[in-house]
Amino acid sequence: MSEKILITGNEAIAEAAIQAGARFYAGYPITPQNEIPAYMAKRMPEVGGVFIQSESELAAISMVMGAAACGFRALTSSSSPGISLKQEGISYIAGAELPAVIVNIMRAGPGLGNIWPAQSDYFQATKGGGHGDYHNIVLAPASVQEAFDLTQFAFELADKYRNPVMVLGDGLLGQMMEPILVPRSSFLVPREESKQSTKHEAQSTKTWALTGCKDRKPNLVASFRMREGDLEKLNQHLQEKYQEIEGKEQGFEALDIADANTIIVAYGTMARIAKGAIKTLRAKNIKVGLIRPITLWPFPKDIFDRVKGQGLRVKFLAVEMSYGQMVEDVRLAVGSEYMVEFLGRSGGGIPSEEEIAYSVERIADRKTKRYPLNAKR
């Protein structure tokens, strides 16, 4: 049985984490994601969990690492500059193979930048961000419902692969309210019940967790491997894990691609705006479609192979609230024989439906590549 509620993207993420069994949150305030810690401050004590407003972002991610090592479903959230500060901890979590969820509600950079929505942290989220050969699994919701659903899925993926998972949204998604359906039965979790079930569940299912070693051999959780050959072995294991994830977990939405001459590639909020442009263009009989990556890492390469398999000389237009980050993965996915153009703005500006439609019309009859296609205002 489900219930329809009107909620912000930030609060939906927080409630989803609670309902997924997260019982530890640590974070430091930053706009535009402050509703997450505010919600957690109220909600975590209700379900017998722990909320900590830490002294810094580095402390928050380190506390999450500790809670994850003890077998708890744990998360932290921040916005771009704060996520930069957490990179050391994320690398350690990846190295120690711990499950944790990190939420980044992106604002515009570089530096302290400003608080407006942006998608400029794509490289940081998908290409490692911290030091060492590791990957986050990165999920990009485009609606408040999806923010709720993907946050729950993030915890499942994190536990399944013992890997950090990032939920990557932008200020617009975090601040916006939309009606969503949530399971009514789990919306209110009785305090005592939740406290006990989480503890036992963690101990019984996560055999590697640090839960007290009475009557068993001690477990070790570390990202430090000094003995000759040990680290290389870990890295080979990690690479095998990443290959498995790339094979199994690609997520995307495809819209109107069967007959499309031009395919827009956009994720998150940007994909919604692109859909508006597609509606306008289709009404004018322009054959345009959309591929919306839902997993940014692993990037959904397979759908691009399928499009190429159709034998169409299709052109691609990547649209981002950045100056060209995801577009590089699109180029890698389709290869050099396909035309891949780019439209992007960042720093407070968001490509509008009109700008996207204009760009699609401009490249429709273009024969050779010409970069860039940034619309001038």
């Binding site: 329809k4 009107l6 608080i115 601040q175 916006m176 939309e178 009606p179 705006i273 439906e353 009109e354």
Partner: protein, 180 residues
């Protein structure tokens, strides 16, 4: 049906809550809705605005380039948002606090002294409820029973006096007798 509404005024006029009312009304009538508040470096007494979309279809962008309706509660907001009203749109203007006229004449302007009417009901803070009533009476986006159901749900848990006050203010707006 798709209705794009910009609500704007100064911090303290209840801009966000009246916008939330509109989104709740969309939920109560089983429609799609998005509510996008201004979340910038806002200051007390400074400007506040919110973009609400109500539609029978899935809503793509929550941003409003051109609004079907604008509810403008103070003068700086009129200057800022006049150009965001679409041709043939409707401007609901708080005559009590706005002494200038809109520059454009390609949309319909409905002037109502929301703040004075609210004072008449006993509390100046209810100007937003009066404005909501006037908007809903003109636009007829939902039946009256749903409007009251949303009002009672949003005020649930508050004192009888507050509920009665808001209901009275909303009724003043609904019954103002707007031109059709």
């Amino acid at each position: 049906m798709t209705e794009k509404i910009i609500v704007a005024g100064f911090g303290g006029q209840g801009i966000m809550i009246m916008s939330k009312f509109l989104s709740c009304l969309a939920v109560a009538t089983d429609r799609f809705t998005t509510y996008l508040p201004a979340y910038g470096a806002e200051v007390r007494g400074g400007t506040a605005h919110c973009m609400v979309i109500i539609s029978d279809e899935e809503i793509y962008s929550p941003l409003i380039e051109k609004a079907d309706s604008a509810i403008i509660m103070n003068e700086p907001s009129l200057i800022r948002f006049e150009n965001r009203i679409k041709e043939g749109g409707v401007l609901f203007l708080n005559k009590s606090l706005i002494n200038i006229k809109p520059k454009r004449n390609d949309f319909k302007t409905i002037e109502v002294p929301f703040t004075e009417i609210a004072q008449g009901t006993g509390n100046i803070k209810c100007a937003n409820a009066v404005a909501l009533g006037a908007y809903l009476a003109y636009k007829k986006i939902a039946p009256e029973d749903k409007i009251y159901a949303v009002l009672y749900k949003m005020l649930d848990g508050l004192s009888k006096e507050i509920i009665a006050l808001n209901q009275k203010a909303l009724e003043e707006g609904l019954n103002y007798g707007l031109p059709r």
